[in-house]
Amino acid sequence: MPPPALSRPLRPHPLRAATALVTLSACLLWAPPARSQGPSLAVEDTMTTEVPEVLVRAPRVTLDEILDRVAKGEARRDSMLRDQSFTATLRIMRNTAGKGTPELLGESVHKVYKKKPGLIRTVTLRVYEKYPEKDGDGMAEADFSPGMGERIVNFALQPENRRNYKFAIEDRKLLGDHLIYTLRFEPRSALQVSEPSGRLWVDTREFVIVRQEIEFRQSPLPLFLKSIKHMVVERTRSGDFWVLSRMLVRMELTIPMPRIGKTFDFGIAFSDYTINTALPDSLFEITDRPTNASRARVRSGSR
């Protein structure tokens, strides 16, 4: 039976506190007569006892230090990855909110092999398109880069971005040996209303981001994109490493587009990871693409 998790903290409430105080005072002033049930103790009866001293070892670190450690942890994770392979599934669905039945517009499955420095091989396993393009470029076309940095997870903690965001502890949960902080981040600049904000779940046992929820205060492209309603990035453990498990996002357009509709979901799921298995060089082709991030390019509609 796992121990109960820390849940939402009880916030002090003036009215609640005042009510408790009044009730307590009333009880004391009323001074009910001694009851006959149970033993009676003398007012002067003061119990004393001795207990062994316990040294509390709970290092206190600042939020900045936690963020530093997470950033370093992410960099260390990246540096320790030598090669990896995974199965990536890209999917686009329409009619995912409101009226209509959700409908799969496109799905592609790829096996991706990566090895440092800059080696990548992508084997396309399946492609489905509801409306295939004549030139062969589909809606869920994948274009992976050799990088293993997973910037979509840690973009707010990147050295060049860190100063652009402010962070705050929103919640924390103690789960066994794991202390999970939920950190709220948002752009420091009020002017950047369309920059992403959201929540990071950080496991301080390894100082790793295990989950992220992203939201946008206002649409980055209001003329066409009404809102990005929900975006979730999840990680999972694969051996000694935390790796990207999936990214899901729901978007709503201002004007319904042909073939797309008004609301659609886009997602990438990553599975079947193998890491640092000494993939042979012969498996790869040389590429000169940038190595900073995994990316998938998705094109909608025709050229």
Binding site: R8, L29, V123, L174, G176, S194, P222, L223, E234
Partner: protein, 513 residues
């Protein structure tokens, strides 16, 4: 009696406070790391103090020793803090609660996204993988690349009162070459000429660093504007077509230009060289959809071959959200150039937030031209780039200083006031104060003259204030807006209030790219 009750009340309060302290101690003992200032931790501990066991730290209830449970005094409870070994022995497997928590979050995501989150059907994937791996490395990718080896054609239209309509086409070849080869050719209906350019550009990562190097080289015949500091071809062309509101001056440039740009994070620097013959263009076309062109002339550019070196760059101001941009362009006869000048422009701008609702956006620029003052290299003054009380480019000088500060309500008025507006029309309100001056100017013709002064006199400043209603369109930048402005001149300028419509970003003085 009353005094006794007060004493009991005080003891109860002390006891309650103490219990809260005990819970905090438990939390401290249990948590491996805790942030300084972690108010959530303290609040949770208080929750435990009032007897809400569901809010208590995970280890406190299950692992508390008998002494802790039985004791109600401070030392006893303190002593009940379990040793790590004791906690571990009485706890469920370390990761089970963590895993179930993460699984719970993931399940909630599944529920929210529904069918989108369903696992992929793996049937047939193994055989597809075996078939794919049987191919030589890269063959599958190369086949995809080979499909992309093609020319992409795009229309290349344009319109201005010097060239008239520009009718042409552009083409680009992106693969398999590194970088991109592109070109365009346009026939001009006014000057009955063919203009266009061809070139190559590419962007490359420098090693494993975060730095990138972008290279570009082009040769051709261009129609350029004299105001090199502020020109938006799309907006200007639209204004020229629709109501003839194009107030730029045009010149011909023939030759080549090349640039190298390095960037890393928020810092960039660029070096550019151009070898171009500059010449004047006539006024040829007055047509506009509604009316005719506001200007029925085009300026006479100085003729000559210019060899110009330009160095530009941007750095952030440490610890702030302000940026500084600087550019210096120099041309000297020693390099074979017909012109001798040094032109410098510095701009700074940024934003300061007041809560989540207001942004203060100050910005300023300073420009100075030394040497020859040509019609095509001064600092233009007036209109959308700086003071609204003048027409666009109404004045020009060999020095220009300008500052503007906006206080913006960043909330969407559509949501804030519950206005019945469509979602694609987010509106923002702001007020501004601006002041600027141009010097080294002929007071009669308002054209630039050489001067030794590096700062304007007090009488040369023009100041104004106003209100802006901005419709944020988000193209090309998320903050790009159509701004409807009311401007009231300050001081005894003799000018009247104006309404203007401009399309720009809040930090429009930081335009160097």
């Amino acid at each position: 009696m009353r005094s006794v009750n007060r004493a009991a009340f005080a003891r109860l309060l002390l006891a309650a406070t103490f219990v809260a302290g005990v819970s905090t101690a438990h939390a401290q003992a249990a948590a491996p790391w805790r942030a300084v200032g972690d108010s959530v931790a303290r609040d949770s501990s208080r929750a435990a103090a009032v007897g809400d066991s569901s809010r208590a730290p995970a280890v406190s209830d299950s692992s508390r020793g008998p002494a802790a449970r039985d004791s109600s005094s401070a030392p006893a409870v303190s002593g009940a803090i379990p040793a790590p070994a004791a906690r571990d022995s009485s706890r469920a497997p370390a990761d089970s609660s963590f895993d179930s928590y993460m699984r719970g979050l993931s399940d909630s995501t599944d529920t929210w996204f529904g069918a989108m989150a369903t696992p992929v059907d793996t049937a047939g994937l193994d055989s597809a993988l075996a078939a794919g791996l049987a191919l030589p490395p890269g063959k599958q990718q190369r086949r995809a690349d080979q499909r992309r080896v093609r020319l992409d054609f795009t229309p290349a239209p344009g319109y201005n009162r010097a060239d008239g309509a520009q009718l042409g086409v552009g083409a680009s070849l992106t693969r398999p070459l590194p970088g991109r080869l592109s070109g365009r050719a346009m026939y001009t209906t006014g000057t009955k000429d063919v203009i266009g350019d061809g070139g190559w550009d590419g962007s490359f990562r420098l090693g494993q660093s975060r730095s990138r190097l972008a290279l570009r080289a082009q040769a051709g015949r261009w129609t350029d504007v004299a105001d090199r500091d502020s020109y938006d071809p799309v907006v200007t062309t639209m204004a020229a077509i629709v109501f003839g509101g194009d107030l730029h001056q045009y010149l011909r440039r023939d030759g080549w230009r090349a640039s190298a740009r390095w960037e890393r994070d928020r810092v960039w620097a660029s070096v550019a060289w151009r070898d171009q013959l500059e010449s004047a263009l006539p006024f040829t076309t007055e047509w506009a959809l509604f009316g005719s062109q506001e200007l029925d002339t085009n300026f006479t550019a100085a003729y000559g071959r210019v060899h110009e070196l330009g160095i530009t760059g941007e750095v952030p101001v440490p610890g702030t959200r302000f940026r500084v941009q600087a550019g210096h362009w120099t041309s000297a006869p020693a390099w074979g150039s017909a012109f001798d000048y040094n032109r410098t422009l510095v701009a700074v701008g940024g934003d300061v937030s007041f809560g989540r609702h207001f942004a203060f956006v100050p910005q300023a620029s300073y420009g100075r031209l030394h040497g020859e003052v040509l019609p095509q290299n001064p600092f233009f003054f007036g209109g959308a780039p700086n003071v609204r009380q003048l027409d666009r480019n109404e004045w020009s000088g060999s020095g220009r200083a300008f500052g503007r500060a906006d206080l913006m309500l960043v909330d969407d008025l559509h949501e804030l006031l519950r206005l019945p507006l469509p979602a694609w029309m987010p509106l923002h309100l702001s007020g501004f104060l601006a002041s600027g001056a141009v010097w080294g100017r002929d007071p009669v013709t308002n054209q630039a003259l050489p001067t030794r002064r590096d700062w304007p006199s007090s009488s040369e400043w023009l100041s104004e204030t106003g209100l802006t209603l901005a419709w944020r369109i988000g193209i090309p930048e998320p903050t790009s807006s159509m701004r409807f402005e009311y401007t009231e001149p300050l001081g005894a300028t003799g000018r009247t209030a104006r309404y203007t419509v401009v399309y720009q970003q809040p930090l429009h003085l930081l335009r160097m790219r």
